[in-house]
Symmetry: C2
Subunit: 296 residues, 2 copies
């Protein structure tokens, strides 16, 4: 199974015109490599793929692949509003050497299930790239039914789904629902850092993690505790991060991670406008949380 364990999602540092800072991106990727994460989720939502041009996305991918040097597979966001654009991005990813593509049903006009199926089937067929279904209703405003995931999982290129982690009490049922409709070996993973650890404990295959994109050792320690069968330790480490999870929920993980990278001097990048960098009291609260948690 290609996508299991910890998949770390870094930001994509870029200037105000959307030109990627490759040196800063390489520093972020090097941190992930050093922590031996299981995969890197380049150009995810946190990686602001939706805001970057095709050529900048290719530049970022080429640099990350060179930096990672085969140590971890790279899963790369190939979503776009138009089907033909998503096809070209997936073809680029395949040609560059990405291990898989992460495909969200980016929408403006709300899409039907049949439209999303055809979109995914076209990208899969025209690119030949292994694909992870990116279910993220908070950004795409489309909700995948288990039936649609089951239908898509029959396409040979579609190998995984990244679902928003349900509340802990609901995750076992969510996993069981999906397992009943997908083939053996299909990867069921979760995002939404604050609930993902319970999803892993319940048997989820992968944690697609924003915090891991900047603090990979912190996230790896949790995943290793789960893999060692020590759920209590995983929960203890996860609960310790509650101050950060509170900020993620209130201000969005993207804004908090950008502020964190800036506060720690790891890279000087602001999110793409219209998204504004955190300032004032919000930024100070992030600084306080990083200090209290001893995150570096």
């Amino acid at each position: 199974m290609l996508l299991r364990g910890l998949s770390a999602f870094p930001i994509t540092p870029a200037d105000a015109e959307g030109r990627v800072d490759l040196a800063a991106l390489r520093r972020l990727v090097a941190r992930l490599n050093a922590a031996k994460v299981d995969s890197i989720g380049l150009l995810g939502s946190t990686g602001t793929y939706a805001y970057l041009s095709r050529s900048e996305r290719r530049r970022a991918l080429d640099a990350a692949l060179e930096e990672v040097a085969g140590q971890a597979p790279i899963l790369v966001g190939v979503g776009a509003l138009r089907t033909d654009e998503a096809v070209r991005l997936a073809q680029d990813a395949k040609a560059a050497g990405a291990a898989a593509g992460l495909l969200a049903p980016v929408s403006y006009t709300p899409l039907t299930e049949d439209e999303v199926f055809e979109h995914f089937a076209t990208v899969a067929r025209e690119s030949g790239l292994p694909l992870c279904i990116y279910d993220n209703p908070g950004t795409t405003h489309f909700r995948f039914s288990p039936a649609l995931i089951g239908r898509l999982s029959r396409l040979p290129e579609i190998i995984a789904v990244k679902s928003p982690a349900p509340e802990p009490h609901a995750v076992a049922a969510h996993l069981a629902d999906l397992r009943s409709v997908v083939p053996d070996g299909f990867s069921l993973g979760y995002s939404g850092d604050w609930n993902s650890v319970e999803a892993l404990i319940a048997g989820g295959d992968a944690w697609y993690s924003v915090v891991a994109g900047l603090f990979p050792r912190t996230a790896m320690a949790i995943v290793q505790a789960v893999q060692n069968g020590d759920a209590a330790e995983a929960r203890r480490l996860n609960e310790r991060l509650d101050p950060l999870w509170s900020l993620f929920k209130e201000l969005s993980s993207l804004r908090v991670i950008y502020a964190s990278a800036d506060l720690l001097g790891i890279c000087r990048a602001a999110p793409p406008r219209p998204i504004l960098p955190l300032t004032g009291a919000a930024r100070q609260r992030v600084a306080n949380a990083l200090t209290a948690l001893d995150l570096t």
Copy 2:
């Protein structure tokens, strides 16, 4: 007041690669001109602005301006995910000669009120183009509060808002809420064809209409009845269109209008993928409604 009465929103016929069919677009604009609509809403959501490149949007605008030959002002969609792109689109619109821009807070990462304010203020300041706020939560997933509309209405370039028409019982209160926060002469208009006529009767300034983009005489008759003080006649004409409104609500006005244009041979264009053209029973129901209503 620049934006009042009937604003007609045509589709933007384009090929599968997103290249605009200028001859077909001119035919649509000529229909609107012949019906003497009060303004043309080019490249709105129905005009698939979000799916078209900057250069194609400019080609479409130049052709429409030439065809309309000054008879009706053109309001043109200048929305984009990135603030710098929206600025460039608004600058293009100003340079081409559009009367105003229609600006939606297109989002991927959900936006805060402050982020939307800064986005609008930047586009207004950098372009100098008169702007209509495009409040369309169904596509942007952002909801404007009256307070934010009031704040934006203080910017000299921002002259109007296009709100989704509330249910008839709620429209008077909605209008009163907005009137209390905007300057005199600020245009309060509505979209969502099925509820817009009641909004006009209640004192709304403009109807931003999808049906008028293809059937301008039908919509003009309703607006003229309202302007003549004959609300009963306006309601009668509007209720007659109930079969069409039902299809709009169920299948989306965009899909129904594309199918209508195709069925009537006005232009042969499909919506941009991933949006699929209506087929089979859905298309037949549109055909039946057009026949029953004698729409041509």
